[in-house]
């Protein structure tokens, strides 16, 4: 079903700068996303998590620095997918949202019906396949957005705060999906405010603050024994100013 090879990897960012007017959003980010367990970006509001995600997706061109995907600097998003924090539901049914994503991804018309059934089953939305997508709850929207992203059979899946504003049950369902997607060989890179979620999902954690990487490394090490003062304060729930 999903492609397990990862020609999009590693994603390498070298001294990436992104600004909006005079505001620096990313300030010299150098990172590498490799195949394997999910990478989770954490940090306070305005630290640049979403911009980093969009830049790594290829949606934002850096003002300075280089990004490569599997050694290529071609920013075409063919085998990458992104789920936004507030995904937009196309004004059509749940199944037709998936049909649209499959058509855009170039899946043959004859194969779309079966793929829709697979994706609906994967995210647990089979029972409401005919419901208008804009009428879904927050958790259902996230699941549909995830299925829509998976319709592209991505090698890398970016998730921007996928469980923000969701109740514990919906959060658990999304986390389970993320785990399954990661286990199928898709590289997941996601942002979260929730350190518990980072601990549950991450193989690697990157802490950002003011557009810079404060610290990055294996999740257990960074979350349990942060090396920098800034990271220690963040993990302790103190405000980073």
């Amino acid at each position: 079903m999903m492609q397990t090879s990862a020609p999009q990897l590693p994603i390498v960012l070298e001294d990436v700068h992104v600004a909006s007017g005079s505001t620096r959003i990313l300030d010299g980010i150098s990172l590498q996303f490799d195949a394997g367990a999910p990478t989770v970006l954490i940090g306070p509001n305005g630290s640049g998590k979403t911009t980093l995600l969009r830049t790594a997706m290829g949606l934002i061109r850096p003002d300075r620095g280089r990004i490569s995907w599997g050694g290529s600097e071609d920013a075409s998003v063919a085998r990458r997918a992104l789920v936004f924090q507030r995904p937009v539901m196309l004004r059509r049914s749940v199944a037709d949202n998936l049909r649209y994503a499959l058509a855009v991804a170039g899946v043959a018309r004859a194969r779309r019906g079966a793929r829709i059934d697979e994706l609906l089953a994967l995210v647990g939305l089979t029972a409401i396949a005919d419901r208008p997508a804009p009428r879904l709850s927050g958790g259902e929207r996230q699941r549909l957005a995830l299925a829509r992203a998976l319709a592209r059979e991505p090698a890398v899946l970016f998730l921007d705060e996928p469980t923000a504003s969701l109740d514990p049950a919906a959060t658990m369902a999304i986390e389970e999906l993320v785990r399954n997607v990661g286990a199928s060989g898709v590289k997941v890179v996601m942002t979260t405010h929730d350190l518990g979620e980072a601990a549950r999902l991450a193989g690697e954690v990157v802490l950002l603050h003011r557009g810079r990487v404060v610290e990055s490394g294996p999740a257990q090490q960074l979350l349990g024994h942060p090396a920098t003062e800034e990271a220690r304060r963040f993990m302790a729930g103190q405000l980073l100013i």
């Binding site: 936004f84 196309l90 004004r91 855009v104 991804a105």
Partner: protein
């Protein structure tokens, strides 16, 4: 049509002259609206999605064209189609086709301008998603028009309303010829000036009824589509 017939007699009695006029009016106005929609909707969507030098001026001009005086549009088409005009050889002057062209000219800016606004609003919402899904430009236009389809009903309604209520331009290019280019609005104007109020009122009743029915149909479609609106 007897001189002492009342408006209701004419409408309920199925007066052939009256219904021939109603039929022609509907054909002309619906054709003009459909043709204007075919051109105006994609044009409005393209303007909504495009960024080019002078775009603001185009948007302002398009909005201004919504208020184009019908007699000016009629005069322009008359000059084009008159025997000495550049398209005189087509022999379209004083035909229903000329009336369709004129009404289309009046309706097109309405449909294009309202579509531009509707699609631009939706575009702001969909833009990031399209970029992430790598949706191509033509598919973007098609998707936005389809997803805005229920709002577009109101746009088409505005265009049809303009066409159906039009008098000045179609009198100029159609000539108000009995049995050939006479529509409800031109007949009402003529019969009122002749003092034949029953026919004028009968046509007025039919016109109002048609407009009401079209609005009811549009409202029904919008209601059906409201479940697809974002919450």
């Amino acid at each position: 049509m007897t001189p002492d017939a009342t408006a209701l007699d004419l409408v309920l009695g199925g007066d052939p002259a009256l219904y021939a006029i109603v039929r022609l009016s509907l054909i002309v106005s619906l054709s003009a609206t459909a043709l204007a929609a075919l051109v105006g909707a994609p044009l409005g969507a393209l303007i909504a999605l495009s960024r080019f030098p002078g775009r603001q001026a185009v948007v302002v001009a398009l909005n201004a064209m919504m208020g184009l005086p019908p007699v000016v549009a009629g005069l322009a088409i008359y000059l084009l189609l008159s025997r000495s005009g550049p398209l005189g050889s087509l022999g379209l002057l004083f035909t229903p086709q000329a009336m369709v062209i004129t009404q289309m000219l009046l309706v097109l800016p309405i449909i294009a301008a309202l579509t531009r606004q509707t699609v631009e609003d939706l575009w702001m919402e969909y833009r990031d998603e399209f970029a992430a899904m790598n949706v191509g430009p033509l598919r973007r236009v098609g998707t936005l028009l389809w997803d805005a389809r229920f709002s577009m009903v109101t746009t088409l309604l505005a265009g049809f309303g303009r066409a159906a209520a039009e008098v000045g331009s179609i009198i100029i290019v159609g000539g108000n010829i009995e049995g050939h280019t006479r529509t409800m609005t031109t007949s009402i104007a003529l019969e009122t000036s002749k003092g034949n109020l029953p026919l004028a009122m009968g046509l007025g009743l039919v016109l109002i009824t048609i407009v009401l029915l079209v609005n009811v149909a549009a409202w029904t479609v919008r209601q059906a589509g409201s479940k697809f609106e974002q919450r």
